[in-house]
Protein backbone atom coordinates (compact mmCIF):
# COMPACT_ATOMS: atom_id res chain seq x y z
CA UNK A 1 0.00 0.00 0.00
CA UNK A 2 1.44 3.40 -0.88
CA UNK A 3 1.87 5.71 2.08
CA UNK A 4 0.78 8.85 0.28
CA UNK A 5 -2.78 9.22 -0.85
CA UNK A 6 -2.98 10.09 -4.50
CA UNK A 7 -5.90 11.29 -6.54
CA UNK A 8 -6.17 7.94 -8.31
CA UNK A 9 -8.46 6.11 -5.85
CA UNK A 10 -10.82 9.08 -5.75
CA UNK A 11 -11.00 9.13 -9.53
CA UNK A 12 -11.77 5.41 -9.45
CA UNK A 13 -14.61 5.59 -6.92
CA UNK A 14 -16.03 8.90 -8.12
CA UNK A 15 -18.25 7.49 -10.90
CA UNK A 16 -19.93 5.00 -8.59
CA UNK A 17 -20.35 7.61 -5.83
CA UNK A 18 -22.02 9.97 -8.28
CA UNK A 19 -24.19 7.15 -9.59
CA UNK A 20 -25.27 5.86 -6.17
CA UNK A 21 -25.97 9.40 -4.99
CA UNK A 22 -28.16 10.12 -7.99
CA UNK A 23 -30.02 6.81 -8.06
CA UNK A 24 -29.94 5.65 -4.44
CA UNK A 25 -29.65 8.58 -2.02
CA UNK A 26 -31.70 11.11 -4.02
CA UNK A 27 -34.67 8.78 -4.67
CA UNK A 28 -34.52 7.71 -1.03
CA UNK A 29 -35.04 11.31 0.06
CA UNK A 30 -37.59 11.82 -2.71
CA UNK A 31 -39.65 8.84 -1.55
CA UNK A 32 -39.85 10.23 1.97
CA UNK A 33 -40.63 13.71 0.62
CA UNK A 34 -43.27 12.38 -1.76
CA UNK A 35 -44.96 10.43 1.02
CA UNK A 36 -45.38 13.54 3.17
CA UNK A 37 -46.47 15.91 0.42
CA UNK A 38 -50.06 16.29 -0.59
CA UNK A 39 -51.44 19.24 -2.55
CA UNK A 40 -49.23 21.98 -1.18
CA UNK A 41 -47.15 21.67 1.94
CA UNK A 42 -46.45 18.73 4.17
CA UNK A 43 -49.13 16.54 5.62
CA UNK A 44 -49.88 13.05 6.76
CA UNK A 45 -52.69 12.72 4.26
CA UNK A 46 -51.00 9.95 2.27
CA UNK A 47 -50.41 7.94 5.40
CA UNK A 48 -53.99 8.44 6.48
CA UNK A 49 -55.25 7.22 3.11
CA UNK A 50 -52.87 4.27 3.30
CA UNK A 51 -53.99 3.31 6.80
CA UNK A 52 -57.63 3.79 5.88
CA UNK A 53 -57.35 1.52 2.86
CA UNK A 54 -59.34 -1.69 3.01
CA UNK A 55 -56.32 -3.85 2.21
CA UNK A 56 -53.87 -2.10 4.52
CA UNK A 57 -54.28 -4.12 7.71
CA UNK A 58 -54.43 -7.32 5.69
CA UNK A 59 -51.29 -6.43 3.74
CA UNK A 60 -49.38 -5.72 6.98
CA UNK A 61 -50.58 -8.95 8.55
CA UNK A 62 -49.83 -11.04 5.46
CA UNK A 63 -46.36 -9.59 4.89
CA UNK A 64 -45.29 -10.07 8.51
CA UNK A 65 -46.79 -13.54 8.74
CA UNK A 66 -45.06 -14.58 5.53
CA UNK A 67 -41.70 -13.22 6.69
CA UNK A 68 -42.00 -14.76 10.16
CA UNK A 69 -42.80 -18.19 8.70
CA UNK A 70 -40.58 -18.21 5.61
CA UNK A 71 -37.30 -16.74 6.86
CA UNK A 72 -36.75 -19.03 9.90
CA UNK A 73 -37.77 -22.09 7.86
CA UNK A 74 -35.29 -21.09 5.17
CA UNK A 75 -32.45 -20.81 7.67
CA UNK A 76 -33.23 -24.23 9.16
CA UNK A 77 -33.64 -25.81 5.73
CA UNK A 78 -30.42 -24.24 4.43
CA UNK A 79 -28.50 -25.37 7.52
CA UNK A 80 -29.78 -28.89 6.95
CA UNK A 81 -28.84 -28.80 3.27
CA UNK A 82 -25.39 -27.39 4.00
CA UNK A 83 -24.72 -30.07 6.62
CA UNK A 84 -25.79 -32.83 4.25
CA UNK A 85 -23.74 -31.50 1.37
CA UNK A 86 -20.57 -31.20 3.45
CA UNK A 87 -20.88 -34.90 4.31
CA UNK A 88 -20.63 -35.81 0.62
CA UNK A 89 -17.43 -36.91 -0.99
CA UNK A 90 -18.74 -37.82 -4.43
CA UNK A 91 -21.00 -35.75 -6.63
CA UNK A 92 -20.77 -32.75 -4.35
CA UNK A 93 -20.49 -30.17 -7.14
CA UNK A 94 -23.43 -31.59 -9.05
CA UNK A 95 -25.67 -31.70 -5.98
CA UNK A 96 -24.69 -28.14 -5.08
CA UNK A 97 -25.43 -26.92 -8.58
CA UNK A 98 -28.90 -28.42 -8.53
CA UNK A 99 -29.63 -27.06 -5.06
CA UNK A 100 -28.55 -23.55 -6.10
CA UNK A 101 -30.50 -23.43 -9.38
CA UNK A 102 -33.40 -21.47 -7.80
CA UNK A 103 -30.92 -18.68 -7.01
CA UNK A 104 -31.11 -17.67 -10.65
CA UNK A 105 -34.88 -17.91 -10.94
CA UNK A 106 -37.02 -14.81 -10.60
CA UNK A 107 -39.83 -14.61 -8.07
CA UNK A 108 -42.30 -14.28 -10.93
CA UNK A 109 -41.06 -17.45 -12.65
CA UNK A 110 -41.03 -19.29 -9.32
CA UNK A 111 -44.64 -18.32 -8.76
CA UNK A 112 -45.55 -19.58 -12.24
CA UNK A 113 -43.70 -22.88 -11.71
CA UNK A 114 -45.68 -23.51 -8.54
CA UNK A 115 -48.85 -22.44 -10.29
CA UNK A 116 -48.32 -25.34 -12.71
CA UNK A 117 -48.27 -27.62 -9.69
CA UNK A 118 -51.05 -26.08 -7.64
CA UNK A 119 -53.64 -24.76 -10.10
CA UNK A 120 -57.12 -26.29 -10.19
CA UNK A 121 -56.37 -28.96 -12.82
CA UNK A 122 -52.72 -29.12 -11.76
CA UNK A 123 -50.47 -31.91 -10.66
CA UNK A 124 -51.13 -31.72 -6.94
CA UNK A 125 -54.86 -32.12 -7.48
CA UNK A 126 -54.26 -34.96 -9.95
CA UNK A 127 -52.22 -36.76 -7.30
CA UNK A 128 -54.84 -36.13 -4.61
CA UNK A 129 -57.51 -37.40 -7.03
CA UNK A 130 -55.52 -40.55 -7.75
CA UNK A 131 -55.31 -41.14 -4.01
CA UNK A 132 -59.05 -40.67 -3.73
CA UNK A 133 -58.77 -37.63 -1.49
CA UNK A 134 -60.68 -35.21 -3.71
CA UNK A 135 -63.54 -35.68 -6.17
CA UNK A 136 -62.32 -33.45 -9.00
CA UNK A 137 -60.42 -30.23 -9.77
CA UNK A 138 -60.31 -28.15 -6.61
CA UNK A 139 -59.20 -24.55 -6.18
CA UNK A 140 -56.56 -23.85 -3.55
CA UNK A 141 -55.53 -20.38 -4.61
CA UNK A 142 -58.74 -18.41 -4.31
CA UNK A 143 -60.07 -15.96 -1.76
CA UNK A 144 -62.14 -18.71 -0.19
CA UNK A 145 -59.06 -20.72 0.74
CA UNK A 146 -56.76 -18.17 2.41
CA UNK A 147 -54.89 -20.78 4.45
CA UNK A 148 -54.12 -22.97 1.41
CA UNK A 149 -53.07 -19.90 -0.56
CA UNK A 150 -50.77 -18.86 2.27
CA UNK A 151 -49.10 -22.26 2.32
CA UNK A 152 -48.75 -22.23 -1.47
CA UNK A 153 -46.90 -18.91 -1.27
CA UNK A 154 -44.74 -20.20 1.61
CA UNK A 155 -43.79 -23.25 -0.48
CA UNK A 156 -42.91 -21.19 -3.54
CA UNK A 157 -40.86 -18.75 -1.46
CA UNK A 158 -39.05 -21.61 0.29
CA UNK A 159 -38.33 -23.16 -3.08
CA UNK A 160 -37.04 -19.97 -4.63
CA UNK A 161 -35.09 -18.19 -1.93
CA UNK A 162 -33.57 -20.90 0.28
CA UNK A 163 -30.71 -21.23 -2.21
CA UNK A 164 -29.35 -17.79 -1.37
CA UNK A 165 -29.23 -18.66 2.34
CA UNK A 166 -27.55 -21.96 1.47
CA UNK A 167 -24.86 -20.26 -0.60
CA UNK A 168 -24.10 -17.67 2.09
CA UNK A 169 -23.95 -20.36 4.79
CA UNK A 170 -21.68 -22.64 2.74
CA UNK A 171 -19.39 -19.71 2.00
CA UNK A 172 -19.34 -19.11 5.77
CA UNK A 173 -18.72 -22.77 6.60
CA UNK A 174 -15.68 -22.78 4.34
CA UNK A 175 -14.12 -20.07 6.54
CA UNK A 176 -14.33 -22.16 9.72
CA UNK A 177 -11.04 -23.96 10.34
CA UNK A 178 -11.49 -27.75 10.32
CA UNK A 179 -9.18 -28.07 13.34
CA UNK A 180 -11.87 -26.72 15.68
CA UNK A 181 -14.31 -29.52 15.00
CA UNK A 182 -11.54 -32.11 14.95
CA UNK A 183 -10.27 -30.95 18.32
CA UNK A 184 -13.76 -31.13 19.77
CA UNK A 185 -14.17 -34.60 18.31
CA UNK A 186 -10.98 -35.75 20.03
CA UNK A 187 -12.33 -34.43 23.33
CA UNK A 188 -15.42 -36.54 22.77
CA UNK A 189 -17.99 -33.94 21.64
CA UNK A 190 -20.99 -35.49 19.92
CA UNK A 191 -22.05 -34.20 16.46
CA UNK A 192 -24.94 -32.17 17.91
CA UNK A 193 -22.68 -30.55 20.51
CA UNK A 194 -20.09 -29.76 17.85
CA UNK A 195 -22.80 -28.20 15.73
CA UNK A 196 -24.32 -26.01 18.46
CA UNK A 197 -21.09 -25.12 20.30
CA UNK A 198 -18.67 -24.66 17.40
CA UNK A 199 -20.33 -24.40 14.00
CA UNK A 200 -23.29 -22.20 14.90
CA UNK A 201 -21.38 -19.56 16.91
CA UNK A 202 -18.68 -19.31 14.25
CA UNK A 203 -21.30 -19.09 11.56
CA UNK A 204 -22.96 -16.11 13.24
CA UNK A 205 -21.64 -13.43 10.81
CA UNK A 206 -22.89 -15.43 7.82
CA UNK A 207 -26.21 -16.09 9.51
CA UNK A 208 -26.53 -12.39 10.20
CA UNK A 209 -25.88 -11.52 6.54
CA UNK A 210 -28.32 -14.13 5.32
CA UNK A 211 -31.01 -12.98 7.76
CA UNK A 212 -30.64 -9.30 6.85
CA UNK A 213 -30.70 -10.00 3.12
CA UNK A 214 -33.62 -12.40 3.29
CA UNK A 215 -35.71 -10.27 5.64
CA UNK A 216 -35.28 -7.15 3.52
CA UNK A 217 -36.25 -9.13 0.43
CA UNK A 218 -39.16 -10.83 2.21
CA UNK A 219 -40.73 -7.47 3.01
CA UNK A 220 -40.44 -6.69 -0.67
CA UNK A 221 -42.24 -9.90 -1.67
CA UNK A 222 -44.65 -9.31 -4.48
CA UNK A 223 -44.36 -11.23 -7.77
CA UNK A 224 -44.61 -14.74 -6.27
CA UNK A 225 -47.78 -13.72 -4.51
CA UNK A 226 -49.18 -12.09 -7.62
CA UNK A 227 -48.40 -15.07 -9.85
CA UNK A 228 -50.08 -17.52 -7.49
CA UNK A 229 -53.00 -15.65 -6.06
CA UNK A 230 -53.43 -12.49 -8.08
CA UNK A 231 -54.75 -9.87 -5.68
CA UNK A 232 -56.28 -12.43 -3.35
CA UNK A 233 -53.40 -12.10 -0.91
CA UNK A 234 -52.49 -8.43 -0.39
CA UNK A 235 -48.88 -7.68 0.59
CA UNK A 236 -47.19 -4.32 1.17
CA UNK A 237 -45.10 -4.15 -2.02
CA UNK A 238 -48.10 -5.30 -4.05
CA UNK A 239 -50.21 -2.47 -2.61
CA UNK A 240 -47.45 0.02 -3.47
CA UNK A 241 -47.50 -1.30 -7.04
CA UNK A 242 -51.29 -1.06 -7.29
CA UNK A 243 -51.41 2.50 -5.89
CA UNK A 244 -48.69 3.62 -8.29
CA UNK A 245 -49.76 1.80 -11.44
CA UNK A 246 -53.50 1.29 -11.25
CA UNK A 247 -54.61 4.17 -9.02
CA UNK A 248 -51.87 6.53 -10.28
CA UNK A 249 -51.50 7.88 -6.75
CA UNK A 250 -47.76 8.34 -6.23
CA UNK A 251 -48.17 9.78 -2.73
CA UNK A 252 -49.84 6.74 -1.20
CA UNK A 253 -47.46 4.43 -3.11
CA UNK A 254 -44.57 6.37 -1.58
CA UNK A 255 -46.15 6.03 1.88
CA UNK A 256 -46.17 2.26 1.39
CA UNK A 257 -42.54 2.39 0.22
CA UNK A 258 -41.49 4.39 3.29
CA UNK A 259 -43.28 1.90 5.53
CA UNK A 260 -41.47 -1.03 3.87
CA UNK A 261 -38.13 0.77 4.19
CA UNK A 262 -38.77 1.60 7.85
CA UNK A 263 -39.60 -2.02 8.65
CA UNK A 264 -36.52 -3.25 6.73
CA UNK A 265 -34.25 -0.80 8.54
CA UNK A 266 -35.70 -1.76 11.92
CA UNK A 267 -35.19 -5.45 11.14
CA UNK A 268 -31.59 -4.80 10.03
CA UNK A 269 -30.85 -2.81 13.17
CA UNK A 270 -32.34 -5.59 15.29
CA UNK A 271 -30.21 -8.28 13.61
CA UNK A 272 -27.08 -6.16 13.93
CA UNK A 273 -27.73 -5.73 17.64
CA UNK A 274 -28.92 -9.19 18.60
CA UNK A 275 -26.32 -11.06 16.56
CA UNK A 276 -23.37 -8.84 17.37
CA UNK A 277 -20.02 -10.59 17.01
CA UNK A 278 -16.97 -9.24 18.79
CA UNK A 279 -13.76 -9.41 16.73
CA UNK A 280 -12.14 -11.82 19.22
CA UNK A 281 -14.93 -14.34 18.66
CA UNK A 282 -14.00 -14.74 15.01
CA UNK A 283 -11.78 -17.62 13.91
Amino acid sequence: MPARTSWIPYALIAPSVVFLSALFLVPLVQTVWLSFSAGEGLSLENYQRMAGDLNFALAIKNTFLLTLVVVPLQVVLALGMATMVTKLDKGRDLVLWVLTIPLGISDLAAGLAWLALLQNTGYLNSALYALGLIQGPTGWLSQETPVALFFAIVLAELWRATAIVLVILIAGLQLIPKEFAEAAEIFGAKPWTRFTRITLPLLKPSLQSALILRTVLAFEVFAVVYALGGRNFPVLAGEAYVWQNDNQNYGVAAAYAVLIMAISLAATALYLRVMRTRPEQLP
Binding site: L96, W114, I170, E220
Partner: protein
Amino acid sequence: MTTSAAELKPASASRAMALPSARRLLLWTGLAVLIAWVLVPIYLVALGAFGGRLGVFRWPKSIWPADLSFAAMSQFLAIEGVFNALVNSLIAAGLTVVFSIALGAPAGYALARYTFRGQNAYRLLVLLTRAFPLAILALPLTVSFIRLGLYDTPFGVSLIHTVLALPFAALVTQSLFMGIPREYEEAAWVFGCTRFQAFMKVVLPLALPGLAATAIFAFVISWNEVFAASILTVRERTLTAYLLRILAESPLHYRFAGGFILIIPSVLFIFAVRRYLFAVWGIASK
Protein backbone atom coordinates in the same frame (compact mmCIF):
# COMPACT_ATOMS: atom_id res chain seq x y z
CA MET B 1 -2.11 -51.33 6.11
CA THR B 2 -5.76 -50.47 5.76
CA THR B 3 -5.48 -47.97 8.59
CA SER B 4 -2.57 -46.16 6.94
CA ALA B 5 -4.51 -45.93 3.69
CA ALA B 6 -7.44 -44.43 5.54
CA GLU B 7 -5.19 -41.90 7.20
CA LEU B 8 -3.89 -40.70 3.86
CA LYS B 9 -7.34 -39.70 2.71
CA PRO B 10 -8.49 -36.14 3.29
CA ALA B 11 -10.45 -35.69 6.48
CA SER B 12 -13.80 -35.14 4.81
CA ALA B 13 -13.51 -38.20 2.62
CA SER B 14 -12.56 -40.48 5.50
CA ARG B 15 -15.46 -39.17 7.53
CA ALA B 16 -17.90 -39.87 4.72
CA MET B 17 -16.48 -43.35 4.37
CA ALA B 18 -16.81 -43.86 8.08
CA LEU B 19 -20.55 -43.19 7.95
CA PRO B 20 -22.43 -46.41 8.57
CA SER B 21 -24.35 -47.61 5.54
CA ALA B 22 -27.73 -46.91 7.15
CA ARG B 23 -26.79 -43.27 7.67
CA ARG B 24 -25.36 -43.02 4.17
CA LEU B 25 -28.64 -44.30 2.81
CA LEU B 26 -30.48 -41.70 4.87
CA LEU B 27 -28.15 -38.98 3.61
CA TRP B 28 -28.69 -39.88 -0.02
CA THR B 29 -32.44 -40.24 0.47
CA GLY B 30 -32.53 -36.77 1.97
CA LEU B 31 -30.49 -35.34 -0.88
CA ALA B 32 -32.64 -37.11 -3.48
CA VAL B 33 -35.74 -35.53 -1.93
CA LEU B 34 -34.10 -32.09 -2.01
CA ILE B 35 -32.97 -32.50 -5.61
CA ALA B 36 -36.47 -33.57 -6.62
CA TRP B 37 -37.88 -30.62 -4.70
CA VAL B 38 -35.79 -28.25 -6.82
CA LEU B 39 -36.25 -29.93 -10.18
CA VAL B 40 -39.88 -31.08 -10.17
CA PRO B 41 -41.52 -27.61 -10.35
CA ILE B 42 -39.22 -26.70 -13.27
CA TYR B 43 -40.13 -29.92 -15.05
CA LEU B 44 -43.84 -29.29 -14.47
CA VAL B 45 -43.77 -25.73 -15.75
CA ALA B 46 -41.96 -27.06 -18.83
CA LEU B 47 -44.77 -29.57 -19.38
CA GLY B 48 -47.24 -26.70 -19.01
CA ALA B 49 -45.28 -24.58 -21.48
CA PHE B 50 -45.19 -27.27 -24.18
CA GLY B 51 -48.57 -28.88 -23.50
CA GLY B 52 -50.65 -26.09 -24.99
CA ARG B 53 -54.20 -25.06 -24.21
CA LEU B 54 -55.56 -28.60 -24.04
CA GLY B 55 -52.72 -29.81 -21.86
CA VAL B 56 -53.45 -27.18 -19.26
CA PHE B 57 -57.02 -28.33 -18.73
CA ARG B 58 -56.47 -32.08 -19.10
CA TRP B 59 -57.76 -33.91 -16.06
CA PRO B 60 -56.42 -35.82 -14.30
CA LYS B 61 -52.88 -35.01 -15.31
CA SER B 62 -50.10 -37.46 -15.89
CA ILE B 63 -46.60 -36.49 -14.87
CA TRP B 64 -45.27 -38.07 -18.06
CA PRO B 65 -44.99 -35.89 -21.13
CA ALA B 66 -47.80 -36.55 -23.61
CA ASP B 67 -48.36 -34.88 -26.98
CA LEU B 68 -45.92 -32.08 -26.33
CA SER B 69 -45.27 -29.64 -29.13
CA PHE B 70 -43.53 -26.39 -29.82
CA ALA B 71 -46.80 -24.98 -31.12
CA ALA B 72 -47.79 -23.52 -27.76
CA MET B 73 -44.39 -21.94 -27.28
CA SER B 74 -44.23 -20.48 -30.79
CA GLN B 75 -47.78 -19.14 -30.41
CA PHE B 76 -46.68 -17.44 -27.21
CA LEU B 77 -43.64 -15.91 -28.88
CA ALA B 78 -45.82 -14.69 -31.74
CA ILE B 79 -48.12 -12.68 -29.44
CA GLU B 80 -47.68 -9.01 -30.05
CA GLY B 81 -45.32 -7.57 -27.49
CA VAL B 82 -43.66 -10.76 -26.32
CA PHE B 83 -40.72 -10.61 -28.70
CA ASN B 84 -40.29 -6.91 -28.03
CA ALA B 85 -40.34 -7.58 -24.28
CA LEU B 86 -37.72 -10.29 -24.70
CA VAL B 87 -35.47 -7.89 -26.60
CA ASN B 88 -36.03 -5.18 -23.98
CA SER B 89 -35.09 -7.61 -21.21
CA LEU B 90 -31.87 -8.46 -23.02
CA ILE B 91 -31.04 -4.79 -23.63
CA ALA B 92 -31.74 -3.80 -20.02
CA ALA B 93 -29.73 -6.73 -18.65
CA GLY B 94 -26.86 -6.07 -21.09
CA LEU B 95 -26.70 -2.41 -20.10
CA THR B 96 -26.86 -3.37 -16.41
CA VAL B 97 -23.82 -5.59 -16.94
CA VAL B 98 -21.90 -2.79 -18.68
CA PHE B 99 -22.78 -0.14 -16.08
CA SER B 100 -22.23 -2.23 -12.98
CA ILE B 101 -18.84 -3.49 -14.18
CA ALA B 102 -17.77 -0.10 -15.56
CA LEU B 103 -18.67 1.65 -12.29
CA GLY B 104 -18.09 -1.16 -9.81
CA ALA B 105 -14.79 -2.64 -10.97
CA PRO B 106 -12.77 0.62 -10.71
CA ALA B 107 -14.20 1.12 -7.22
CA GLY B 108 -13.28 -2.45 -6.32
CA TYR B 109 -9.77 -1.87 -7.63
CA ALA B 110 -9.43 1.33 -5.59
CA LEU B 111 -10.60 -0.46 -2.42
CA ALA B 112 -8.20 -3.33 -3.04
CA ARG B 113 -5.05 -1.36 -3.89
CA TYR B 114 -5.20 1.95 -2.05
CA THR B 115 -5.74 3.28 1.44
CA PHE B 116 -7.41 6.61 1.25
CA ARG B 117 -9.51 8.95 3.37
CA GLY B 118 -13.18 8.27 2.98
CA GLN B 119 -12.64 4.59 2.27
CA ASN B 120 -14.84 3.56 5.17
CA ALA B 121 -17.50 6.08 4.24
CA TYR B 122 -17.58 4.59 0.76
CA ARG B 123 -17.86 1.07 2.16
CA LEU B 124 -20.70 2.23 4.38
CA LEU B 125 -22.52 3.68 1.36
CA VAL B 126 -22.22 0.35 -0.41
CA LEU B 127 -23.34 -1.67 2.61
CA LEU B 128 -26.20 0.73 3.30
CA THR B 129 -27.81 -0.36 0.05
CA ARG B 130 -28.28 -3.81 1.62
CA ALA B 131 -30.66 -2.54 4.29
CA PHE B 132 -33.10 -1.00 1.81
CA PRO B 133 -35.56 -2.66 -0.52
CA LEU B 134 -33.98 -1.00 -3.54
CA ALA B 135 -36.61 -1.77 -6.16
CA ILE B 136 -38.97 0.50 -4.20
CA LEU B 137 -36.78 3.43 -5.28
CA ALA B 138 -38.32 3.13 -8.73
CA LEU B 139 -41.43 4.91 -7.38
CA PRO B 140 -40.01 8.46 -7.11
CA LEU B 141 -37.75 7.88 -10.12
CA THR B 142 -40.82 7.62 -12.34
CA VAL B 143 -41.32 11.38 -12.03
CA SER B 144 -37.68 12.26 -12.72
CA PHE B 145 -37.45 9.75 -15.55
CA ILE B 146 -40.51 11.20 -17.28
CA ARG B 147 -38.90 14.63 -17.11
CA LEU B 148 -35.57 13.33 -18.42
CA GLY B 149 -37.09 11.20 -21.17
CA LEU B 150 -35.80 8.00 -19.56
CA TYR B 151 -39.24 6.69 -18.61
CA ASP B 152 -40.38 3.64 -20.58
CA THR B 153 -36.92 2.86 -21.96
CA PRO B 154 -34.77 -0.22 -21.29
CA PHE B 155 -32.00 2.27 -20.54
CA GLY B 156 -33.98 3.74 -17.65
CA VAL B 157 -34.74 0.27 -16.30
CA SER B 158 -31.07 -0.66 -16.51
CA LEU B 159 -30.15 2.38 -14.37
CA ILE B 160 -32.22 1.18 -11.41
CA HIS B 161 -31.04 -2.40 -11.96
CA THR B 162 -27.48 -1.09 -11.78
CA VAL B 163 -28.26 0.25 -8.30
CA LEU B 164 -29.07 -3.35 -7.35
CA ALA B 165 -25.99 -4.86 -9.02
CA LEU B 166 -23.33 -2.19 -8.46
CA PRO B 167 -22.66 -2.68 -4.72
CA PHE B 168 -22.35 -6.37 -5.38
CA ALA B 169 -19.90 -5.76 -8.25
CA ALA B 170 -17.77 -3.38 -6.17
CA LEU B 171 -17.44 -5.83 -3.25
CA VAL B 172 -16.73 -8.84 -5.41
CA THR B 173 -14.17 -7.13 -7.64
CA GLN B 174 -12.46 -5.77 -4.55
CA SER B 175 -11.69 -9.24 -3.30
CA LEU B 176 -10.92 -10.37 -6.83
CA PHE B 177 -8.18 -7.73 -7.18
CA MET B 178 -6.91 -8.42 -3.66
CA GLY B 179 -6.31 -11.98 -4.78
CA ILE B 180 -3.93 -10.81 -7.53
CA PRO B 181 -0.50 -10.04 -6.03
CA ARG B 182 0.51 -6.42 -6.25
CA GLU B 183 4.07 -7.52 -7.12
CA TYR B 184 2.96 -8.56 -10.60
CA GLU B 185 1.91 -5.01 -11.34
CA GLU B 186 5.06 -3.54 -9.81
CA ALA B 187 7.18 -5.82 -11.96
CA ALA B 188 5.39 -4.48 -15.04
CA TRP B 189 6.09 -0.89 -13.91
CA VAL B 190 9.78 -1.75 -13.58
CA PHE B 191 9.74 -2.97 -17.17
CA GLY B 192 8.43 0.39 -18.29
CA CYS B 193 4.67 -0.09 -18.37
CA THR B 194 2.50 2.79 -17.22
CA ARG B 195 0.00 2.00 -14.46
CA PHE B 196 -2.74 1.71 -17.02
CA GLN B 197 -0.71 -0.58 -19.30
CA ALA B 198 0.28 -2.72 -16.33
CA PHE B 199 -3.35 -3.06 -15.38
CA MET B 200 -4.45 -3.95 -18.90
CA LYS B 201 -1.64 -6.42 -19.61
CA VAL B 202 -1.14 -8.07 -16.23
CA VAL B 203 -4.11 -7.65 -13.91
CA LEU B 204 -7.02 -7.74 -16.32
CA PRO B 205 -6.26 -11.13 -17.90
CA LEU B 206 -5.98 -12.67 -14.42
CA ALA B 207 -9.19 -11.03 -13.24
CA LEU B 208 -11.19 -11.87 -16.33
CA PRO B 209 -12.90 -15.10 -15.20
CA GLY B 210 -14.00 -13.49 -11.94
CA LEU B 211 -15.21 -10.42 -13.79
CA ALA B 212 -17.17 -12.67 -16.14
CA ALA B 213 -18.86 -14.31 -13.15
CA THR B 214 -19.70 -10.89 -11.70
CA ALA B 215 -21.12 -9.85 -15.08
CA ILE B 216 -23.34 -12.93 -15.20
CA PHE B 217 -24.67 -12.14 -11.74
CA ALA B 218 -25.48 -8.60 -12.81
CA PHE B 219 -27.26 -10.02 -15.85
CA VAL B 220 -29.36 -12.40 -13.73
CA ILE B 221 -30.26 -9.64 -11.25
CA SER B 222 -31.61 -7.50 -14.08
CA TRP B 223 -33.22 -10.35 -16.03
CA ASN B 224 -35.22 -11.40 -12.96
CA GLU B 225 -36.23 -8.03 -11.52
CA VAL B 226 -39.98 -7.42 -11.60
CA PHE B 227 -41.06 -4.47 -9.45
CA ALA B 228 -38.90 -1.63 -10.81
CA ALA B 229 -39.25 -2.81 -14.39
CA SER B 230 -43.04 -2.88 -14.07
CA ILE B 231 -43.18 0.61 -12.57
CA LEU B 232 -40.82 2.23 -15.07
CA THR B 233 -42.25 0.88 -18.32
CA VAL B 234 -45.55 1.03 -20.17
CA ARG B 235 -44.95 0.06 -23.78
CA GLU B 236 -41.29 -0.95 -23.74
CA ARG B 237 -41.77 -3.58 -21.05
CA THR B 238 -39.18 -6.13 -20.05
CA LEU B 239 -40.29 -9.75 -20.13
CA THR B 240 -40.97 -9.85 -16.38
CA ALA B 241 -42.92 -6.59 -16.52
CA TYR B 242 -44.86 -7.82 -19.54
CA LEU B 243 -45.75 -11.11 -17.87
CA LEU B 244 -46.82 -9.38 -14.69
CA ARG B 245 -49.06 -7.04 -16.65
CA ILE B 246 -50.81 -9.76 -18.64
CA LEU B 247 -50.91 -12.23 -15.75
CA ALA B 248 -54.51 -11.68 -14.76
CA GLU B 249 -56.01 -12.01 -18.24
CA SER B 250 -53.67 -14.40 -20.06
CA PRO B 251 -54.52 -18.10 -20.34
CA LEU B 252 -52.57 -20.54 -18.18
CA HIS B 253 -50.49 -22.08 -20.95
CA TYR B 254 -49.16 -18.65 -21.95
CA ARG B 255 -48.22 -17.98 -18.35
CA PHE B 256 -46.31 -21.25 -18.20
CA ALA B 257 -44.60 -20.53 -21.52
CA GLY B 258 -43.48 -17.15 -20.16
CA GLY B 259 -42.34 -18.67 -16.88
CA PHE B 260 -40.35 -21.31 -18.71
CA ILE B 261 -38.60 -18.72 -20.91
CA LEU B 262 -37.69 -16.79 -17.76
CA ILE B 263 -36.26 -19.88 -16.07
CA ILE B 264 -34.06 -21.32 -18.81
CA PRO B 265 -31.36 -18.63 -18.99
CA SER B 266 -31.20 -18.55 -15.18
CA VAL B 267 -30.44 -22.27 -14.99
CA LEU B 268 -27.71 -21.94 -17.60
CA PHE B 269 -26.21 -18.91 -15.88
CA ILE B 270 -25.99 -20.62 -12.53
CA PHE B 271 -24.31 -23.54 -14.28
CA ALA B 272 -21.81 -21.18 -15.92
CA VAL B 273 -20.79 -19.53 -12.64
CA ARG B 274 -21.12 -22.54 -10.33
CA ARG B 275 -17.40 -22.48 -9.51
CA TYR B 276 -17.59 -18.85 -8.43
CA LEU B 277 -20.93 -18.98 -6.67
CA PHE B 278 -19.65 -19.52 -3.16
CA ALA B 279 -16.62 -17.27 -3.40
CA VAL B 280 -18.73 -14.49 -4.87
CA TRP B 281 -21.51 -14.74 -2.31
CA GLY B 282 -19.13 -15.29 0.56
CA ILE B 283 -17.72 -11.88 -0.21
CA ALA B 284 -20.95 -10.16 -1.15
CA SER B 285 -22.61 -11.21 2.09
CA LYS B 286 -19.93 -9.58 4.26
